[in-house]
């Protein structure tokens, strides 16, 4: 865990340094640099939701005992990173294009719907008492939500008029090598951060569960 924290700190520090000192300033100006935060955070949110759905699938199919808690924690991280995606995207849109939010863009709306879907996951989880039924319900819900991820990926490609800029087209990344390198480091940093939070929260929840069990034994 300490090694993971150290790795995360190193990656994040180097990502920030690269973003601000190495990556060239684009023609849009300094606000383009938020791209290096926004896109990795969005992709990390997708990865977290996908990981949560994978754990949910493992819970339903193989009945792995730890999979339910891991699915919950992964989706929690996904919701946190999803909220950050929406915030950074809005800030970027405000300074680049002058609006905080635009409803005509399917990518934005679909991501918002995905985010709200997984927020409702927590409402579902807290409304049912702990037990196998809650685990099954939440696993099914997480699997339903993961279907939205490829849809939101495809929406930006299939839409004829879009506002959300596409940088990664079928002919490769439309940016300079230095920008791509910075982007990759930033993405690695965000994935590492998400994984660190995931492991940290899992450890905390397991500790709390052990403590509760001990208290019940003592009582």
């Amino acid at each position: 865990m300490t090694a993971l924290a150290g790795l995360t700190a190193v990656l994040l520090g180097s990502a920030v340094a690269l973003i601000f000192f190495y990556a060239p300033v684009d023609e849009d100006g300094l606000n383009q640099k938020i791209f290096y935060f926004h896109v990795p955070i969005a992709l990390t949110a997708y990865v977290c939701f996908g990981w949560g759905a994978l754990k949910a699938f493992l819970h339903l199919w193989k009945r792995v005992p730890t999979a339910d808690l891991e699915s919950y924690v992964a989706i929690h991280q996904g919701v946190i990173f999803g909220a950050m995606t929406l915030v950074t995207g809005s800030i970027w849109a405000r300074f680049r294009w002058g609006h905080w939010w635009v409803w005509g863009d399917e990518q934005l709306v679909l991501f918002l719907v995905l985010f709200l879907f997984y927020c409702a996951y927590f409402m579902l989880r807290f409304s049912v008492d702990a037990g196998p039924q809650r685990a099954n319900l939440c696993a099914v819900y997480a699997l339903f939500g993961v279907v939205l991820i490829p849809i939101s990926f495809l929406a930006i490609r299939l839409a004829s008029s879009y506002i959300h800029p596409t940088v990664f087209t079928s002919s490769g990344p439309q940016m300079a090598t230095s920008q791509f390198a910075t982007f990759c480091v930033a993405w690695a940093a965000m994935i590492s951060l998400a994984y660190f939070f995931y492991r940290f929260e899992l450890a905390g929840k397991r500790l709390a569960a052990d403590l509760k069990e001990l208290r019940e034994l003592l009582a």
Binding site: W100, W101, W103, L112, L116, C119, A120, M123, F126
Partner: protein, 200 residues
């Protein structure tokens, strides 16, 4: 008067502390208000005015307040703490006011998220929108105070004590629905306890 204010503050602080630990009402209200604003965008026609959107903001806030209010008495009802509350040596209206203050705090926290979301999703909000949006907020909490006596009497009628004398006395209370003196519930429960002990 000062004692009354202290009672209200203590009761409101209890609800806020419980919410801070359990965190079940406020996330539900936040999710509801953001989802309602998203749905309202798709509900409004393209050519609708900003006034229609502001009206729908009012609707969203009122229903968010209702979400908070319906959950306000859930812990008391679940764990039968309403008896403990009624036994507290404070004026009954202090319980009402404490609950109102707590739900108002939740609603204010929900509005901290709702107003920027509204500004992003619809037209921008100016400084004039914030005091005007406090009007449905305070109205909702006043609404809650009106429904509170019926809630208290309903909770008292379904009290855990099975003896018939208790039930008949609680029915007469709900008929009166006035803030009874704190001495009355204590006397009733003592007589209840003596009846049940004699039954054993």
């Amino acid at each position: 008067m000062r004692r009354y204010a202290t009672d209200v503050a203590v009761l409101a602080r209890k609800d806020l502390t419980l919410e801070l630990r359990a965190r079940d009402t406020l996330p539900a209200m936040l999710l509801f208000v953001v989802s309602a604003l998203v749905v309202f965008h798709f509900a409004l026609p393209k050519s609708s005015s900003g006034l229609a959107a502001k009206g729908l903001l009012w609707v969203a806030i009122v229903f968010t307040a209702l979400v908070g209010l319906t959950r306000a008495f859930v812990p008391e009802r679940e764990q039968r703490l309403i008896d403990g509350l009624l036994l507290a040596p404070c004026d009954r209206s202090a319980i009402w006011l404490g609950k109102s203050v707590a739900v108002l705090a939740f609603l204010a926290a929900a509005e901290v998220v709702a107003l920027p979301a509204y500004a992003a999703f619809f037209s921008g909000i100016g400084w004039s929108t914030i005091p005007t949006s406090s009007w449905p907020t305070s109205g909702s909490s006043r609404w809650e105070r009106c429904s509170l006596p019926s809630r208290l009497s309903a909770a008292r009628a379904s009290c855990c004590c099975p003896c018939s004398s208790c039930r008949s006395r609680s029915r007469s209370w709900s008929a009166a629905s006035a803030p009874a003196s704190p001495g009355a519930p204590r006397a009733t429960l003592v007589s209840c306890a003596s009846t049940t002990s004699s039954l054993r």
